[in-house]
């Protein structure tokens, strides 16, 4: 019995050490590869955590902005395509873009602490968030929406008084839900949990970005969107305050892909329509 225990312990320790060392080895390899990449890249010093590689925090899934297809772990979506397109512009010149899953409510803090180069995660630009991090230029016009089960009587935000509302923790949708009189707000870690809670009847409505709820409602037959809040929000990319160089480079890159039509192309790919003209009311039509 004694000997058996000793052997088992030794095996576990050996396995742990091997895995740990292997992990370190991987890091070294990646570092080496990244170094050579920088040597050949003409890009300016963008203060990246790892040269030649862009590490982007993102709350996945948030379809159609950042999500994965069944059976795949590769991040896809509007934000993903846009960030990759901007990163590939000559001013930045990075093709190695990694989207890293991160719970939405912790992204702002993580970027502020410098754990990621940036975040692209459908962040509405708000003054509170802007105190912690820097926003890039607006890249998407968003509104909040009320989504309910198909047979629900709820038709507006006012109907939600005293009702149960689902939202994602840390979102502007959760902020709006908190302003509804007498409503009980359930905050979920990912938006799909809120959708599941709506499907299960645990909440009477979900308040969330229109484009994302509309994408869900179009793909399942049990939800409908009944109301859109008139307040206009703008999505912005998120950068650490310490790295204005990267933010400026992305602002220039965003202007560039807007001008050369790449932005419109990506927009049509994910939303099946042309982007709204500047100043156009997104609630019209």
């Amino acid at each position: 019995m004694r000997r058996w225990l000793i052997v088992l312990t030794a095996l576990l320790v050996a396995a742990g050490l091997t895995m740990g060392l292997a992990a370190c080895g991987d890091d070294d390899d990646e570092g080496g590869a990244a170094d050579t990449a920088t040597a050949t890249s003409a890009a300016a010093d963008l203060g990246l955590l790892e040269a030649g590689k862009l590490q982007v925090a993102s709350d996945i899934p948030y379809a159609p902005f950042e999500f994965t297809e069944p059976g795949s772990t590769e991040a896809i979506g509007f934000d993903v395509d846009m960030v990759k397109a901007i990163a590939a512009t000559p001013g930045i010149g990075i093709t190695d873009v990694e989207f890293i899953r991160q719970p939405f409510d912790t992204i702002i803090l993580s970027v502020a602490q410098g754990r990621f180069d940036m975040s692209a995660s459908s962040f509405s630009i708000t003054p509170e968030r802007a105190k912690q991090i820097d926003f890039g230029d607006p890249y998407f016009v968003a509104t909040q929406s009320v989504m309910v089960q198909k047979d629900s009587d709820i038709t507006s935000l006012d109907d939600l008084q005293g009702k149960k509302i689902g939202a994602q923790r840390g979102t502007t949708g959760a902020d709006l839900a908190a302003t509804v009189q007498g409503a009980e707000v359930s905050r979920y870690e990912i938006i799909d949990d809120a959708f599941n809670a709506l499907a299960a009847g645990r909440v009477d409505a979900v308040i969330n970005d229109f484009a994302v709820s509309a994408y869900a409602a179009a793909r399942r037959d049990d939800f409908k969107i009944v109301s859109r809040n008139p307040t206009i929000e703008n999505y912005g990319l998120v950068f650490p305050k310490e790295n204005p160089a990267l933010r400026d480079a992305f602002n220039a890159g965003l202007a560039e892909i807007r001008e050369n039509g790449t932005y419109d192309e990506i927009f049509r790919k994910w939303f099946g329509e042309d982007p709204p003209a500047p100043g156009e009311d997104p609630l019209a039509g």
Partner: protein, 233 residues
């Protein structure tokens, strides 16, 4: 270091949430107590069932299943699946109710094992004496063995209660407003983590006295054994 202090010890950012956090901790305590009641009752039932004929396999299957599966998974699966079950009451269980029922089911398995250790530690002579007095198997268990066993396992039972109280934090993922859920909601709004520190303090205030009492009970038992007294009455 300054960042850590600013991020975790900025009382001004946590102050507006103290009331919510206190209400959240009250939810935590309610779930812990209700789950403990379920776990104690069901655990004892399982421990006794485990010693009774062929049905003991049911008890063993239950105990091993819930000892092998993470409580977090049990809670999430119950939360998303129950509304779709065509079973009255079950389909209407709220997140709060699923929280204490789920944790109660999981901890019943641990507690059944604690009871079993207690039951097995009671000397065989006790059973033999009771049987020779004409008691039935059931009577022997109920009147002689279990009362002695339960006293003996009080310390490990308290230990499990402390562990259970800490596991209540898991219910925050099914949108229950326990102290951790409230703290994280506030953190998401203020971008400051001091509410998490406050949650830690709430837990310490509750669990440290329990741990202290537990240690006292164990120390007293040991002194009694040391003096050669009978441990069980």
């Amino acid at each position: 270091m300054d960042q850590v202090v600013q991020q975790y010890l900025d009382w001004d950012s946590a102050r507006p949430y103290l009331g919510d956090l206190a209400r959240g901790f009250w939810v935590t305590i309610q779930i812990a107590l209700l789950a403990e009641v379920i776990a104690l009752a069901l655990g004892l039932f399982l421990a006794v069932l485990r010693r009774a004929g062929w049905v003991r396999f049911l008890a063993i299957a239950y105990i091993n299943f819930f000892r092998a599966v993470p409580a977090l998974l049990v809670l999430i699966i119950m939360y998303v699946s129950f509304p779709f079950l065509p079973i009255p009451v079950v389909e209407d269980l709220t997140g709060f109710q699923i929280g204490f029922i789920g944790l109660g089911l999981v901890y019943a398995a641990y507690i059944a094992e604690v009871y079993r250790a207690g039951i097995e530690s009671v000397d065989r002579g006790q059973t033999e004496a009771a049987r020779s007095l004409g008691m039935s198997n059931g009577q022997t268990m109920r009147l002689v063995i279990v009362p002695q066993a339960v006293r003996r396992v009080l310390p490990p039972l308290m230990n499990d209660f402390i562990a259970l109280t800490k596991d209540v934090a898991l219910v925050s993922v099914i949108a229950v407003q326990d102290v951790v859920g409230v703290a994280r909601d506030a953190q998401a709004v203020t971008f400051n983590s001091t509410t998490l520190t406050v949650a830690v303090v709430f837990y310490l205030v509750f669990t440290l006295p329990l741990i202290w009492i537990l240690d006292r009970i164990i120390a007293r038992e040991q002194r009694r054994v040391g003096r050669g007294e009978i441990v069980a009455p």
